[in-house]
Symmetry: C2
Subunit: 246 residues, 2 copies
Amino acid sequence: MPPKNTQPKYRQIADYLREGILNGTFPAGQPLPSEEALAKQFGVTRPTVRQGLTELRASGLVEVIMGRGTFARSPQSRPSLTRPRGVRLAPDGRYMEADGIQWTNAEPPVATRTDAPLALADLLRIPPGEPMFTYDALQTADHGRLRQLHRTYVPFSVLVDTKHEEEAPLPAPELYVTLAELGHELHFTEYVRTRMPLPDQAQALRLPEGVPLLHVIRVTLTEGDKPLALEEFHLPGDDLELSFRL
Amino acid sequence: MPPKNTQPKYRQIADYLREGILNGTFPAGQPLPSEEALAKQFGVTRPTVRQGLTELRASGLVEVIMGRGTFARSPQSRPSLTRPRGVRLAPDGRYMEADGIQWTNAEPPVATRTDAPLALADLLRIPPGEPMFTYDALQTADHGRLRQLHRTYVPFSVLVDTKHEEEAPLPAPELYVTLAELGHELHFTEYVRTRMPLPDQAQALRLPEGVPLLHVIRVTLTEGDKPLALEEFHLPGDDLELSFRL
DNA sequence: AAGTGGTCTAGACCACAAC
DNA sequence: TTGTGGTCTAGACCACTTA
């Protein structure tokens, strides 16, 4: 038996379209041929065409607008926004993000208490299960065009013998002032990961199909590298890059 | 007419399975019910079940092994590897990656000349179209368990009046020595992006379905912030995180 | 051999957008 | 009204894995 070296039809269709999108035959923003037209062109039925298109959607190369058509997305172009990561200490004792973005909470932030899951306990060097103050916020800027999910964790143990023992501290950037007032010189480490969003994350961040998340964990440390607090950021992976000075 | 508030069947199936994966009903590494079983359970046909499973695949929650079944993937757990980003200058004048990983080229690296595309010309502050030395390598470490795509760009203009005017310089880390010998004190900025891989990238990095890429651009600069060279890294987005000290 | 997922057909009917 | 994509059926046959 000769080896089978033919690709499945739906993949040939996907390859044809991807090729066209990357080489400019199907320019970004322009509609692809309709599913019906592709079915006729390739001599297959519509479900087969759709199977190919599903691949392109999952890889973010294509965007579907209901009732209008399937559109090529700009692929590997430059992100429109670069966010320098860092925290600056102003002369007045306040802290500012290096990117200078002014966020507002889309909804009132949710303050709760969480027991530290293993992964976070590890980064905070506290026992798993230790209670933490938790802040949860969906933040927007630039009239809703920028979005991020922001979560703050402060272990109870960090705040014993302070006025915050019973009352939740404010989230960053005020949190940094609170921590600095405990007598520490703060510094920060960030951990960057990526993954595909869950449906609720995709909705909150208005992510198109096939667009991953950037997941940033920022740990606030003392000068002696003792972890004080942890923040989680979920950022849209399209049209955004982070920059770090090494 | 009452508003239609029923989810499509395939999405109900996807939600049911995703829920089960996240809450432990379907533990990571364990097989989900077969497509046939799910079809019977939900009273639908197999294509409908598969449409739901396609969603979970694209979001990386599920892995399919041909002939064996569909398996839950560990979702948001901690990555097994943290790579501190940075470059260290050893006393002997050599440079080392902060993560200490020793990479070997899976295949001989490909040296070519490229004309600077707009996005890279911008970061290197050279005119678009200026020729650059280019190195391309698929690197592995830890017996092939770690993989990264590495590309180096050095504009011709940086190397005029040096012995490398005609002969391509070696890629990093030797490149840094070469650049330092031009009399510069080097520093580095990294830009982090994410996106879904193209098929060839997914294959080279052995990425499972639904796993995004980390795309890191490192620019080597003089003490006066003049860009000298640029490297691109494509890293698997699962099971890996980058860390940066701010 | 039995069980799994992979590919594909040939339709049907619906929801949405533009004209 | 027409054209687009969205959902779903009821199969068929194939390829791969395990026993």
